[in-house]
């Protein structure tokens, strides 16, 4: 039985798992979907047991019926042959997506994570499901009205956090730009122009945050790392100042652990990286769950056996 890994060629965390599975003599077929259709072929027939056939590259081939688990680690978009017109490219891309995705998603295999389940986990849905799973989440507002922001701020009676609902990065003036979390006090909230241009997420700013936690869940195993900010910038958003961070291993309180696992079941996820603020009162407040979150730097800093846990899960193919 084979582990299928759909990921970019340059993805160090995938490399680690590939090496771990190789050390266990577990067959692995790794490919980026950018290889389709030029360097990756799919040849599948519908048989009485389901779709069967082969995925193959110049170097490797796997029988679809032999795939016991799939690690879907954000592969890249299909790279189509040069020379196509734009309508042809659009058509070919849509055909590739439906054809390849349709066959692969039909396999009787464990997915880490199943693509549409991952896509289900939009931040507003996450906050609602987390709440229902017993996790404390920040008071939150999604709006495109300044009056709504002011009313929310009055209710919170403290600073707000301005956050993105989707990707934090964009390219503008040919520069990569990153929108980190912002602490919004009275001065920042005085001029709310631009709120009306799209949906915006505002949350209560957790003023009594002592540290943050990234808790990586693999199957039913939880690996949590406390992230201690060493600068004011990192205290607002740790991603903005990695050089100031210190880490320590931490065990989530049982209700938090139970809530995370319930959240994973609710979205039918096998992997997720939760971000929490932990207050000076010891309360854990969940911000979000990154369904393809990074963990390598925490694994290294704290010797957390996350790679091994992922290899265990993929090797077993066990579905909960």
């Amino acid at each position: 039985m084979t582990v299928l890994i759909l990921a970019r060629e340059i993805e160090p965390q995938v490399d680690r798992v590939v090496e771990e599975l190789a050390a266990r003599d577990v067959p692995v077929f790794r490919s980026d979907l950018a290889a389709f259709p030029q360097a990756l072929t799919l040849d599948a027939q519908l048989e009485p047991e389901g779709w069967n056939g082969t995925l193959a590259t110049e170097h490797r081939r796997v029988q679809l019926s032999e795939i016991r688990s799939v690690w879907y680690r954000h592969p890249s978009h299909f790279e189509l042959p040069e020379g196509m017109s734009r309508p042809e490219r659009r058509h070919a891309a849509a055909e590739a997506r439906v054809g390849v995705a349709g066959v692969l998603c039909s396999l009787d295999a464990l997915w880490v994570n199943y693509p549409s389940r991952e896509a289900d986990a939009l931040k507003p849905r996450q906050l609602d499901v987390a709440r229902r799973c017993g996790l404390r989440v920040p008071r939150s507002l999604i709006t495109n009205t300044p009056v709504g922001v002011r009313s929310f701020a009055t209710g919170v009676d403290g600073p707000l956090a301005g956050k993105n609902l989707s990707a934090a990065s964009l390219v503008e003036s040919n520069h990569l730009q990153t929108a980190y979390t912002r602490r919004l006090g009275v001065a920042e909230l005085a001029d709310l122009s631009g709120v009306e241009t799209t949906a915006h997420l505002f949350q209560e700013f957790i003023e009594n945050k002592e540290f943050e936690v990234r808790a990586t869940v693999v199957g039913k195993r939880v690996f949590a790392a406390a992230i201690h900010a060493g600068s004011e910038t990192a205290r607002i958003d740790f991603r903005a100042d990695y050089s100031s961070l210190d880490y320590s291993a931490i065990e989530p309180p049982p209700p938090v652990r139970t809530g995370m696992l319930a959240f994973m079941r609710a979205f039918d996820l096998s992997f997720g990286a939760f971000d929490f603020a932990v207050t000076t009162d010891g309360e854990w407040i969940m911000f979000e769950c990154n369904t393809f979150g990074q963990y390598g730097w925490l694994e290294d800093a704290l010797d957390l056996p996350i790679t091994s846990a992922l290899a265990d899960l993929l090797e077993s193919g066990a579905r909960s």
Binding site: I5, R8, E9, I10, P12, Q13, D15, R16, V18, E19, D32, L33, H74, P75, S76, H77, E79, R90, A94, R97, A101, P115, S116, R117, E118, A119, D120, V129, C133, G162, S166, A167, S169, L170, V171, S173, N174, H175, L176, Q177, T178, A179, Y180, L192, S193, G194, H200, R239, A240, Y242, A262, A266, F267, N290, G293, G296, W297, L298, D300, A301
Partner: protein, 120 residues
């Protein structure tokens, strides 16, 4: 309690592309010369963005993907080829500029792409 949110296959708002999200090839991030529009139309959420490197001047980070071993390699300063996975360790490494896992000034890739940012 109904734990499970409505799955996408039942949600008419989501296309097949949303259900099978794909990212940009090889982390290639297209350049864009567009300037910020102005206060009347610029989203509030883009205030205070931190400006990173120019997309057309950032050094390309050389790596070689080994299809036999199915992992990537990079050149160390000494010229030898080493496993790329070694380069996410904390602290100085021969080549940290292209590291994509939580290095200073480099947001983790999870922040670089929302699931549905690229249309078919």
């Amino acid at each position: 309690m109904t734990d499970h949110p409505t799955p996408l296959w039942r949600d008419p708002l989501f296309s097949p592309g949303d259900r099978f999200p794909l990212g940009p090839s090889h982390w290639h991030w297209d350049g864009c010369e567009d300037e910020p529009s102005g206060p009347a139309t610029r989203p509030f959420s883009l205030r205070g963005v931190v400006v990173g490197p120019r997309m057309d001047t950032e050094a390309h980070w050389p790596y070689r993907y080994c299809p036999e071993r199915q992992v990537a390699f990079v050149q160390s300063d000494g010229g030898s080829e080493v496993l790329y996975l070694k380069h996410t360790k904390p602290g100085p490494t021969p080549v940290t500029s292209g590291t994509v896992d939580g290095q200073p000034g480099k947001p983790p890739p999870e922040e670089m792409a929302s699931p549905d940012y690229q249309s078919d």
